[in-house]
Symmetry: C2
Subunit: 332 residues, 2 copies
DNA sequence: AAAGGTAGTGCAAACGTTTGATAATGTCCA
DNA sequence: TGGACATTATCAAACGTTTGCACTACCTTT
């Protein structure tokens, strides 16, 4: 916002059109209360003056802005950038602006950023939050929230449900003959990571195979590559990674150690981003980031309607499907 | 912004502290004009009431907000998401918020979005703008602008200068024996695309080799893969792609046609994103997106200082360097 | 022809700040 | 003791909207 010499205000338009300020305001906000001729006249003058209502003044008086916040641990992750794109595009259609914030995987930054956003947005979409439950609760007292990839009782939550798909994958591996299956963990504080780890662990042991949990990472390509050593050492013949970024890195890391995927070790990912780009293509689970992003926006904007606190809060899993590519085979 | 029952205002703090509204305001904005004891007292009360200044009221009165806009053609492109991350992180350090907008490669959407942002931000970083020069000029009358990956006379512009690096690459290819070199175009309206195309074309012909220009694409992975047919048909033994995303797709497309990189055809990219992730690693040019993002924020926030219109507008190229990986070899 | 509606418009307060002008305290010196 | 001068705090206007209420015409009813 420049101290712009000439940006037309309601007052300018009112004077030019020979009507009162309120009339101009109404011509835009509730034209049905004005005579059609007045509306037309005012709008013409307004167009001539290139007038458009000042969103910050409007926000101040109405107490609600046309912006939402989207906070993510790492915008560089294709899952997140796809989600952002969908959320933003969807919001634009409803003339809503999107504040994007990257927390760099830090709960502290996340908290700061959310408080800052709370004062100038109508709601926040919190993706893969690393914050403690009390902190999330506290925040939700101040501002409508929609959680993505995390579930907190009493707060609308949205995530990709992948337990069935993960089990399907485990079964496939076991059936192929794998007796020792590893899970390559993502960020330690990630709710989704815990879910996936648990789903895999259970199914693997249920099927009578051996489960190995590989230590937490930051879900970056580099960490995936670096994990190759651990994988080899673990003796696992198949590794299911937290996500595709990690899986891609792992494939490259294994290659450098002279291990080929899928001949020497099978690898699976999650989210279906990147999985197609690398070679061999990685068998993965669709993350539906675009759909999730769009849904999150809808929920956030509808939420006030559910003000009645019917006691039922929405929690929904967008189910992921297995996508088979070339990274899975029988053990050597 | 909820119609929150209790969000403390200056007035509340003033009453609780037994001072006037202005005093509370000054305790935060210009504490040196108050006695130290008053400041301390006010701040204590404010903290107790969880007060923090309402940014929208502040923006209204001061006529300048603490937010900037960042608009990009496609946030999904790793170059852009890295840039966004850097810009956002850097802004946070200066307590500035970032509006992110994805224009989906459309000049029309870009224009709409910019006008909307102009009213609630202090400036806009316009990346890879597809808008016409007059439209950009018009916009820059309304709001401070910093252009990225595009140069318009009179407006601060920032881009990765890659002509020398591209020439280096061309030389390398020619020296390896390539006699027919193709350039795989990016988006038709992209300024950067024109620059790169021209640089390559000139150098290739200057070195006595044949130049082939492959038709525009959207710089997506799919388009890169689809371009493989054209490449084979063109008879080129080396192709320099607009960016890494395109290059990665091309490598995969060629593989599907039974052509191997680099044995059958050499491929280069641009930006050094993704280039490391695929196999074989792609020889590319660093895009320095993080540095560019950070610099853009600095320029935008400093710009008012240059209000004096000294006639010199800043235009700077962050020079890209060649990064050699495995995608280049002698022709078959 | 008086009473009652209704449609169209204007007035003025309010939103939560900032900030220039102004008043209320002292303190110091003659 | 009385002024001059800092120092510190308050007043009130302003930013650009929205919106409840009041007002003016004019049109129906009876």
């Amino acid at each position: 916002m420049k101290k712009q010499a000439g940006r037309a205000t309601l007052k300018d338009v009112a004077e030019a059109a020979g009507v009162s300020i309120s009339t101009v305001s109404r011509a835009f906000s509730s034209p049905e209360r004005l005579s059609p001729s007045t509306v037309q006249h005012v709008k013409e003058v307004a167009a001539r003056l290139r007038f458009s209502v000042n969103p910050v003044a409007k926000a101040l008086i109405t107490g609600t802005s046309m912006n939402i916040g989207l906070v993510v641990p790492d915008i560089t992750n294709p899952y997140m950038s796809t989600l952002l794109k969908a959320a933003q595009t969807h919001s634009r259609g409803r003339s809503i602006g999107v504040f994007a914030a990257d927390t760099d995987d830090s709960a502290r930054i996340e908290r700061e950023v959310c408080h800052q956003l709370a004062q100038q947005t109508r709601g926040i979409i919190l993706c893969g939050s690393r914050m403690s439950v009390p902190h999330i609760r506290e925040l939700s007292e101040m501002i409508p929230l929609v959680l993505v990839s995390r579930v907190v009782e009493g707060i609308p939550s949205l995530y990709t449900g992948s337990t069935p798909a993960l089990e399907e994958l485990v079964d496939e591996l076991v059936d192929l003959g794998h007796r020792r299956i590893a899970y390559l963990s993502g960020p330690a504080q990630s709710w989704a990571n815990k879910q996936r780890s648990r789903a895999v662990s259970r199914r693997v042991t249920a099927r009578g195979a051996e489960f190995v949990k590989l230590p937490p990472t930051t879900a970056s390509y580099g960490d995936g590559r670096a994990a190759a050593g651990n994988v080899v050492e673990s003796g696992a013949t198949a590794v299911m990674a937290f996500d595709d970024v990690l899986a891609s890195g792992l494939v490259e890391g294994l290659r450098r150690l002279g291990r080929l995927v899928p001949d020497d070790v099978s690898v699976t990912g999650h989210d279906d981003v990147l999985a197609e780009l690398v070679y061999p293509g990685i068998t993965t689970i669709t993350g539906q980031s675009a759909r999730v992003g769009q849904l999150a926006v809808d929920w956030l904007l509808e939420e006030p309607a559910a003000e009645g606190d019917t006691g039922t809060t929405r929690t929904e899993a967008v189910e992921g499907r297995v996508v088979r590519r070339g990274s899975v085979a029988a053990p050597p």
